[in-house]
């Protein structure tokens, strides 16, 4: 009987020890404050979010974008061949095709450390006029803008953002 009590005590101690060890080993790997927050995109799509267009007829859409303050992106016609131009595309499977796009003229700027080289860029708000043809029906189009952003001292890798637009073609 005494030995039985000893066994019970031993089992209880063992269970408590194991519970504490397991409780610690199951704690979350990291809390959110230990992870770096993702950087916001340099370019945001503004509007339109929904348009109604005649079915199967070319229609021009004005897509509005905004470049974050302090940044610029290369225009569609950058001044040097190796610079990545801003380019709008629409996935072929979306029921809406893009016939052409008219890009705004950028502005010429120079970087503070190289006043000789001029680069053609977009800053602030800019608008791309996309000529589209939509099949009859409702289409959720995810237009894509590929761009490459910089500030005066550094450049960020090229990025593609989506511009979600509900196209209602009647």
């Amino acid at each position: 009987m005494i030995a039985g009590k000893t066994e019970m005590r031993l089992a209880a101690v063992a269970a408590l020890a194991l519970a504490s060890v397991f409780a610690h080993s199951q704690s979350p790997l990291l809390d959110e404050s230990q992870l770096s927050a993702p950087k916001p995109a340099a370019v945001a799509y503004l509007y339109p979010q929904q348009v109604t267009v005649p079915a199967n007829q070319p229609t021009t859409l004005a897509l509005h974008f905004r470049v974050a303050p302090g940044l610029h992106i290369n225009s569609h016609m950058p001044s040097e061949a190796e610079l990545i131009p801003a380019t709008l595309t629409i996935p072929e499977s979306s029921g809406v095709r893009i016939e052409s796009a008219i890009y705004p003229h950028g502005i010429d700027i120079t970087l503070p450390l190289d006043l000789k080289t001029r680069i053609n860029v977009y800053t602030g708000d800019f608008v791309i006029q996309a000529r589209i043809v939509a099949a009859a029906g409702n289409h959720l189009v995810e237009a894509r803008l590929r761009y490459q952003a910089c500030d005066n001292n550094a450049c960020m890798p090229p990025k593609t953002i989506t511009a979600p637009i509900e196209v209602i073609a009647r």
Partner: protein
């Protein structure tokens, strides 16, 4: 008595097994946590006190430069270990990065000035490489080669820098330069273009580090 001994031995054995399993689990989670932290360690721009320039917090500072082995434009493998004992400026750049083009002549000039003291620049292109399409991959490499030719880079240039971006803090912005002393420790880093004087000061710091 014999039965009690057997029971106690069995309990202790089970206890030891569970304790070992818990310890192993804890160790594995600790390693996973460290890997996760390393992967999320980004170079971060912070606002400095009034009157001084904003500065980057670079997690690599004071730590060994992460090892790498990358191909150059001819396909030859170049590794960090090949330059053991040298003072290095590891410079990440890309063909689409206008500030990178501005600072490249400075790097060439400073490399030539300090080469006799055991200093070398390692250029690493972070341009995307389309490895699924041989024709596109060839174009990508040619574009990098054109940049190297146009800027007359005399130091080793490697490609596929994206593959080692995580251990170097994410490389969210280019150019990014890491100054490594003779012991292989990162003693300074610069993100974005600064000035030739600042680059030279960091080279001297790396050369002077014991």
């Amino acid at each position: 008595m014999k039965r009690n001994t057997l029971v106690i031995t069995a309990v202790l054995f089970i206890l030891a097994a569970f304790a070992w399993a818990a310890w192993a689990n804890w160790e594995l989670r600790k390693q996973a946590r460290e890997r996760l932290l390393a992967a999320s360690a980004r170079n971060v721009l912070v606002v400095a006190p009034a009157g001084s320039a904003a500065q980057y917090i670079v997690p690599l500072q004071g730590k060994p430069a992460p090892a790498f082995a990358l191909e150059d434009l001819t396909g030859k493998k170049i590794s960090l270990a090949d330059y053991k004992g040298k003072v290095l400026l590891i410079n990440f750049w890309a063909t689409w990065c206008a500030p990178c083009k501005i600072e490249t002549p400075w790097l060439i000039e400073l490399r030539n000035r300090y080469a006799a003291q055991g200093f070398e620049v390692l250029g690493i292109s972070a341009d995307d490489l389309d490895r699924d399409d041989p024709a596109k991959l060839s174009d990508d490499k040619q574009q990098i080669a054109r940049f190297v030719q146009q800027t007359l880079i005399p130091y080793p240039v490697m490609i596929d820098g994206d593959s080692i971006s995580q251990p170097y803090g994410g490389l969210d912005e280019l150019p990014a330069s890491f100054f490594v002393d003779r012991n292989g420790t990162v003693v300074a880093a610069q993100l974005g273009i600064t000035s030739k004087d600042e680059i030279e000061a960091n080279i001297k710091k790396a050369l002077g580090a014991k």
